[in-house]
Structure formats: C-alpha cells, structure tokens
C-alpha cells in the first residue's frame, strides 16, 4: 500500500499502471506457478503410470489395502472446501467482510478436517505394516512391487498433504487480514490468488483418489 502525492492511500505498487494491471500480473504469476506444480506432481504421476503398467495386478491388490472410505470422505471434504473458497472470493469481491472471514475460516477448517482424516489413515497404514522399508509386511505375491505402490502412495499423498498444510496456513493468515478489513477496502487479489492455489490442490486429489484407492476394482 503506497501513499500517493495527494496523500490518498493506493493499493497499486509503483511498478504497475493501475490496480487492474497489478491484479492481472498476480493472476498470471499464480497460474505460471501452478504450471510448475503440475510438473512437480507430474513426475510422481508418471512414475505411478510406469509402475502400474508394469505391475497392474499387484497395484490392484495393494490398492485394496488402502482405506477407501477415509479417502472418499476426504475427497468430499476437499470438494466442499473448494466451493467455500470460491464463495469466499465472491464475498471479497462484494466487500462483505464478515462473510469473507467466515468462509475463509470454513475453508481452512475443512482443510484441517482433511489432514485429521489423513492422519488417522496414515496411522492405520502404519500399524498394518504398510510403510515401505524394513518393517513392510506383505503376505501376497510380489512383495517388492507392492512396496513400490506404497512408496508412491506415501510420496504422492504426502506431497499433497504438505500442500494442504501450506494452504491452511495461507487461509488462516488471510482470515486474520480479512478480519482487519484488508481485502474489503478496494482490492482482494490475495484472496483470489490463494483461491487458485487451493483449487489446484483439490484437483490433484481428484486424480489421486481413483488412482490410489480404486486401482483395478475393489
């Protein structure tokens, strides 16, 4: 926020002509970041594709050991949180401070619910000796191939969980700033851009759910 020569406060940083150009630059920056994120996750999805095509039967068998009810519930939680996030951006655009704060908190809360369910799930996997390594236990065929599946399962859901965690902190920070009235006084680009990130994390899970929990059929 800069103070212009007339003494009025402006949200436009000095390198931009106007608020619209600044907003467009922020959105473009986030979309380019998301493109790099697509490739970041893409490497793991590629590894999954290669090994699933090599060991389709073992991947299907290993997938049966994942907690489909918890994973499916988590998908619904994230989809619902994305809807709240979209409504938050709308509330910011209409300068509805109270609604914006509650929607941001609601989105963050669902993110925390997601992480809690994921924690329960990881604990179940842990006590069933499904974590790759020296304690990995597998009583069906092709132990090492099943271990590859679980390596990918933990790497991909783990990387996703890190993204959700970052998103939760971003949303909580935004909720505090929104409560202070930062996004209802003339610009709300940070809410929009954080929304893009949150929806992207949702999209990653949309692909992880069938690949991890429903490989083959149950």
């Amino acid at each position: 926020m800069n103070v212009t020569s007339t003494g009025a406060t402006s949200f436009v940083h000095e390198q931009f002509d106007d608020i619209e150009q600044q907003r467009n630059a922020a959105q473009l920056g986030m979309w380019i970041f998301l493109a790099t994120e697509v490739l970041f996750f893409g490497g793991l999805f590629l590894g999954y594709t290669v090994y699933r095509s090599l060991y389709p039967d073992t991947f299907a068998a290993a997938s049966h050991h994942t907690e489909v009810v918890l994973g499916g519930t988590n998908t619904a939680v994230l989809l619902f949180s994305s809807a709240l996030m979209a409504l938050a951006v709308r509330a910011a655009e209409f300068k509805n401070r109270k609604q914006l704060v509650w929607l941001l908190l609601g989105t963050a809360f669902l993110g925390i619910v997601f992480m809690a369910i994921k924690g329960v799930e990881y604990h179940k996997d842990f006590v069933e000796y499904l974590v790759p390594g020296s304690h990995f236990e597998w009583h069906e065929a092709n132990r090492s191939h099943a271990e590859i599946f679980f390596w990918l399962y933990f790497a991909m859901t783990g990387l996703h969980a890190i993204h959700v965690t970052v998103g939760i902190f971003v949303l909580l920070t935004l909720a505090v700033l929104a409560w202070l009235g930062k996004f209802t006084a003339g610009h709300h680009t940070p809410v929009e851009v954080a929304g893009l990130y949150w929806h992207f994390v949702d999209i990653v899970w949309i692909f992880l759910f069938p690949l991890m929990y429903l490989a083959g059929h149950r």
Binding site: L39, A86, I206
Partner: protein, 111 residues
C-alpha cells in the same frame, strides 16, 4: 458492478455435480470393467478437474493470457508423459534375434 465471480447458485450447482461425479467414480470402483475401470476413472477425474478449473478457478471468462498459462502446464505434462511412455511402451517393438530370445516378462523393460 462488473463481477468476475459467479452467483452462489452456480458454485453450489458445480459443487453438487462434483459430489455426484465422486459418487459415480466411487461406485464404479466396485464394478469389474477390466481395463476400462482406469479409463472411466480418468474420464471422470478429468471432468471434475475441468469443472473446478472452469468455474471455481474462473478460467471461463478470464483472459487469453491466463488460458495460455494454464494450458502450458498441461502441454508440458503431456510432453513428459509421451516421451517417457513412448520409451517404456515400445521396448518390445524391436524383436530380438532368435539367438537372444528375451522372455516375455522382460519385454516391458521391467527392472
């Protein structure tokens, strides 16, 4: 006022559609369609991702520049996949000579 967001009704409709697609992919997971399980699951996932990108992320109605940035990520992902899978899936195209018969399980280049 010119808005770049949709009405709440649009968001709730999209949310309901996403939930229905989730129910669909979940229930089809219990039906044996052979290799079509994967095809159906991916088709549903892509539909869901498109709904999220078009409406929640406002790709619909945003500038051409943003369309380009969003598509660039997908195109590079396709390059990553096509070059790597082009290798893995064609390793058995060159048949070994009769004196060097490779057992079928090694055709895919399993390590």
């Amino acid at each position: 006022m010119e808005t770049s967001t949709h009405s709440p009704k649009v968001y709730w409709t999209i949310c309901a559609a996403l939930m229905m697609l989730l129910a669909l992919t979940w229930s089809i997971g219990y039906v044996n369609l052979g290799s079509f399980n994967l095809v159906v699951a991916l088709a549903i996932s892509i539909s869901k991702a498109l709904l999220v990108a078009l409406f929640f992320m406002h790709i619909k109605g945003s500038s051409r520049l943003l369309h380009l940035a969003a598509t660039a990520g997908i195109i590079w992902l396709l390059i990553l996949f096509s070059l790597t899978l082009g290798d893995y899936f064609t390793r058995n195209f060159l048949q070994p000579t009769s004196s060097h018969k490779v057992p079928p399980e090694q055709f895919h280049g399993a390590p």
